[in-house]
Subunit: 396 residues, 2 copies
């Protein structure tokens, strides 16, 4: 993968990092997916315009201030890109801006501009780790995933720590590949894969004003089978999605809800999201309580609000593989409750604990309905004291 990245701290007080993704040359094969939030930040507004550029060269990323809801947001980002382009002998329009951090503050343009020459000089093509670290805000660890496909690779980095400092919980994701994927095809793959990965995790149930995922293909290693490319891209994005969910300090458990045989895909996703976002289910998971009543109530609440009916007698709910609801009744006994509580306790993510191969730290909730929809899954988290603490204390 031919790119360079670098980072440079600016004003000490802000502890802002500025990072750069710099392709060796412009590429026309790039794409982006942006937040659907109706009050997007300047980087999202500018990024959407960049999709019409014939070719681009990279991304300028800063932490600490998200450049959202200020009167001068677009001008501030534009001034920085112009300065960067001057230094690199490139076009300002060849760069995407990306920002994460506090909403409502102006970017410190002069201080950031002063850091750009050093940043441009520091770019390094040996590893993405510096970039993955440079874009971290409250992330507990850098997030890098890769996959091989054809004769090349896809590498991705991301940041996002929704459970803590949520105004900084912007999800930024950058994907680089040396496989040759034509522009429109790359955009289709990106939209399809993001919909099935980053858009199927839910920590705070909000999408921020600044979320974006950008992809760039240098094409240096030639083409690959489109189906294999899509599969590889999805695996990279799913890996990053899992990293994001399990990341934050406030997370005690990752909850994976899989729904099969709902009426259709949308209904399946609706049910899965309702369960994952239910404060009552989330607190029960935090308390290692296999609380069937809350699960069933959350499902029934969603279906009722959506005006959908379902034959509850034909729905089966499992946790950790054990049936806990079926034929309209609870399927619990003392032994099963004990096993499930142990199952939940085993899956607690202690600070610093990381999943290792073969050891899955998710709580699995499987819901099988009686329809014909495809299987879907959504990742979420429990709701812990730390979540409240980190979020209530943020700004004070």
């Amino acid at each position: 993968v031919s790119f360079r990245s670098g980072e440079r701290a600016t004003a000490d007080e802000l502890k802002m990092n500025v990072s750069l993704i710099l392709l060796d040359r412009e590429t026309s094969d790039f794409g982006g997916v942006f937040t659907r939030n109706r009050f997007p930040g300047a980087p999202v507004i500018i990024g959407r315009k960049r999709l019409d550029e014939p070719a681009v060269r990279g991304v300028l990323i800063n932490t600490k201030i998200s450049n959202v809801c200020t009167a001068t947001g677009e001008a501030d980002a534009g001034a920085l890109l112009t300065r960067l382009a001057d230094i690199l002998g490139a076009r300002p329009e060849a760069f995407f801006p990306a920002s994460t951090g506090i909403i409502g503050w102006r970017l410190p343009v002069a201080e950031m501009a002063a850091a750009l020459p050093g940043l441009a000089a520091s770019v390094d093509s040996s590893s993405l780790l510096a970039l993955a670290k440079g874009i971290m805000t409250t992330d507990a660890f850098p997030k890098v995933r890769s996959a091989t496909v054809g004769r090349g690779r896809i590498v991705g980095v991301a940041k996002g720590a929704g459970m803590i400092e949520p105004n900084m919980a912007t999800l930024l994701c950058f994907l680089l590949t040396d496989v040759a994927v034509p522009r429109e095809e790359l955009r289709e793959h990106l939209a399809w894969c993001v919909e099935r990965s980053l858009n199927r995790l839910s920590v705070d149930s909000d999408q921020s004003t600044s979320d974006m995922a950008l992809a760039f293909s240098s094409g240096m290693k030639g083409p690959a089978d489109p189906g294999e490319f899509r599969e590889a891209l999805l695996s990279v994005l799913n890996g990053l999605a899992f990293d994001i969910v399990r990341n934050a300090e406030g997370v005690g458990h990752v909850v994976r809800v899989r729904v099969e045989k709902a009426r259709d895909e949308q209904t399946g996703l609706g049910i899965a999201r309702a369960v994952v976002n239910s404060p009552l289910v989330k607190t029960a998971m935090f308390g290692n309580d296999p609380n069937v009543g809350r699960l069933v109530s959350a499902i029934g609440d969603y279906l009722g609000n959506a005006g959908l009916s379902v034959d509850g007698n034909r729905m089966v709910v499992k946790m950790g593989g054990e049936e806990i609801f079926g034929s309209g009744c609870f399927r619990l006994d003392a032994g099963k409750e004990e096993r499930l509580s142990a199952y939940l306790r085993q899956r607690v993510i202690e600070p610093g604990r990381k999943p290792w191969p073969g050891h899955d730290l998710t709580i699995d909730v499987d819901i099988v309905m009686d329809g014909s929809g495809p299987g879907v899954q959504v990742l979420g988290t429990d709701l812990s004291y730390d979540y409240v603490k980190e979020n209530a204390d943020y700004r004070s």
Copy 2:
């Protein structure tokens, strides 16, 4: 108002209360509104059928077990009503069952039946307070509201403590009036008023499997103006809704979100609910943090997901009457932040603290858009340590 109520504890271990609402005679002028949850309990299933009865006489209510998702739920409730009817010389079909408590457990029918003679003998028409106390579960105080209309009154009692022990957080509400309101008119008033009161509060964002609101008119004091009756009924229900939200131990603040000039009523309600249910807004309120970014992000997230656009430059957001967002930018300065933080601290509901006339304990968030929809309001709560504690510890 001609009714009687009583309560009687059954098995000590369960600490279950059984209460009875007994009208002096059957009335054909009654109505009910039930949960939309698709997995309703036996009392809701039976209650819906009761709406077709020519006349009814009362309600048998129990706490501790909600009679939901068991194989024998309807039969168990039916057996108890048959026993009650035997004792009173009435028809079993003349009684509604109502239950609140744990999902998935069977009612202790024999123990409850043994308590019914004493309960029937204990009914008392002097005050609703015994009833309001008898149906409490984790409620911190009994909830009774009344209003005068025409030559009569409307009195209402309710229970509901969503912030703690949410499997018991069923919202039960019983309304009694001696104003003569014909059956169909009463049902229309009830549906209209519940939609604008109980259905516009959100604590856990779930509706339980057992929620119900029932209304009975004895007609003894003759008719009243329909518009005045509706207004009085709405005031009783709004009072009960506020009592329910401010009730629970886990609540630090009551948050009232008012939306004006949205595109339409549904959009206004969607925006208000999105703000009230946002975990990020809720934790900020708990932390006494006038966090404009989270408010704006929650609104933008809702609008984006709903596929609605809005001119952010024409939206104004106020907290406690102070403009905090306008013309697409934050309207904050140090002095305003300090005032708003003080405003939030003043409104903390300390344990045992009750609002008194003229002292409003809600945090007001007012959102004015540029559409033509009617004004709407939704009540919610903050998200506190106690919320997580009570909900995570419930069953362990």
